[in-house]
Symmetry: C2
Subunit: 312 residues, 2 copies
Amino acid sequence: MRVLLYRGDGQIAAWAEGLARAMPGVQTLGWQEGEQLGACNYAVLWNPSHGLLAQLAQAAQLKAIFLMGAGADTILKFGDALPSAPIVRLGDTGMAVQMAEYVAHATLRYFRRFDEYEQQARHGLWSPLPVYAKEEFTVGVMGLGKLGLRVVETMRAFEFPVRGWSRTPKELHGVDCFAGMEQLDDFLRGTRVLVSLLPLTSETNNLLDRRRLSTLPQGAYVINVARGAQLAEPDLLTLIRSGHIAGATLDVFRNEPLPAPHPFWDEPRITITPHISALTVRSEAVRQIADKIAAFEADQPVDDIVDRNLGY
Amino acid sequence: MRVLLYRGDGQIAAWAEGLARAMPGVQTLGWQEGEQLGACNYAVLWNPSHGLLAQLAQAAQLKAIFLMGAGADTILKFGDALPSAPIVRLGDTGMAVQMAEYVAHATLRYFRRFDEYEQQARHGLWSPLPVYAKEEFTVGVMGLGKLGLRVVETMRAFEFPVRGWSRTPKELHGVDCFAGMEQLDDFLRGTRVLVSLLPLTSETNNLLDRRRLSTLPQGAYVINVARGAQLAEPDLLTLIRSGHIAGATLDVFRNEPLPAPHPFWDEPRITITPHISALTVRSEAVRQIADKIAAFEADQPVDDIVDRNLGY
């Protein structure tokens, strides 16, 4: 069996080694821009190029494409150039707990005013601040997949009121659930800390624009750990500067790395991290891919196949 | 029934109001330095003076003393001047979840290197840092009472390895438990993030001195949310400056407010908060005190009576 490994950043050595260990007898191959693609049965990709996908579309023996990270937007954006073979997302490869860590840290930092205490300490100031009431700190999670559910569970354990929004209706114990565009405004109106864990699709692109961000209550916070393109960046900046939004913690941006002369860098109420909220745990990803290749080979059903119409 | 309310800071109005609502017919009284104490059946105190305790020791009808906050050290330090009536600690009045929030925030900040990302962002730097392995980030909780157990549970939910240390042996699912002075060094040797939730007693005073802090592994962190006197402050500073200890988050200090010319203020690896890690939730405290007074009146057993020999 031949498996193509390709990453936009070229770092495939450790993946090749892991896959060889997980699937004795597998033959891995690489590809570089301009090369002729060798015959392969499976492709394991991250940030592929148009040129590679065009060749994969002609690969007669290709049975499936696996993604090395979360977010099918990284491949679906090529639209018509895509091969017809099924595209398989990663399941939870240790990403969910990392997301929960990131969101819990950011939310607690706002709720307990730790950022303000740091400012005070820098000036040698000992001064307890008024305490926020948890009833006024509803955490609203957009996207209730594996990652969103873990975040919901974590914030509930800290006794925050939690609400969720998803494309299709869900029922979750102890969580106010909203669904669809028609319930989005209601969801936002009662959300003090907005957490986006949505996939990037044509529907979620620019979803958080000026009107919707204005629907959040005065003093709301925004945490984006999904994809930068969901957020209208200039609108967020306007609302932070007007004081309507109290702060934002952003791990993802429309252009990454966030360009050097971007106004976000100079806004102290925006906390920037370089897309580190949840990293693929390679060993676990390799294990999942090996298991799923075995299932394809045995004609068994395979989970996590991307729905190209939904975009995730 | 007559209940004395006294706080060192004088803020008793809201307590009087709450208690009157919770116990219709109760008569509350105050006291000021130099005054003659009126007859009372119960005393509800925080940071009492020697003069008040001397008068309470003569109060023939006094059945019990209640504390308004966590930490019997605030009253037991008066030793011989104490009345003989039982002293009753607060149970969990919403403090446990606050402690869990504080400790989770501080631990995640170190583990996920958010403090370093903030430094980077201040310089417009986009640069993912190497990820710490959770197996190398064992959280060690000293003190396994109500607050300690909640912290243990929270850190386990984030999948950190967790160990605990207590005066007497305990067994907790999924937690390596150590007990007594003879197991303290073993406990410290494997602890990357040390969290103190111990009561302040003659045994824990200066417990975390240079020798014991040196027993922590290179690169360890210290989080103190208990009492400042447990920590030898100059020793901590020495070990942070030498690089053996990577950082500390301190909410409590030997002298509070932390004096203006204290070297902790100038050490960037020490995060200072002004004793806000867990505040008594007054409404819940009042409810507990009212319930326990009712139990005393009915000669029923009452929980959380302080053991004067153990000091908590």
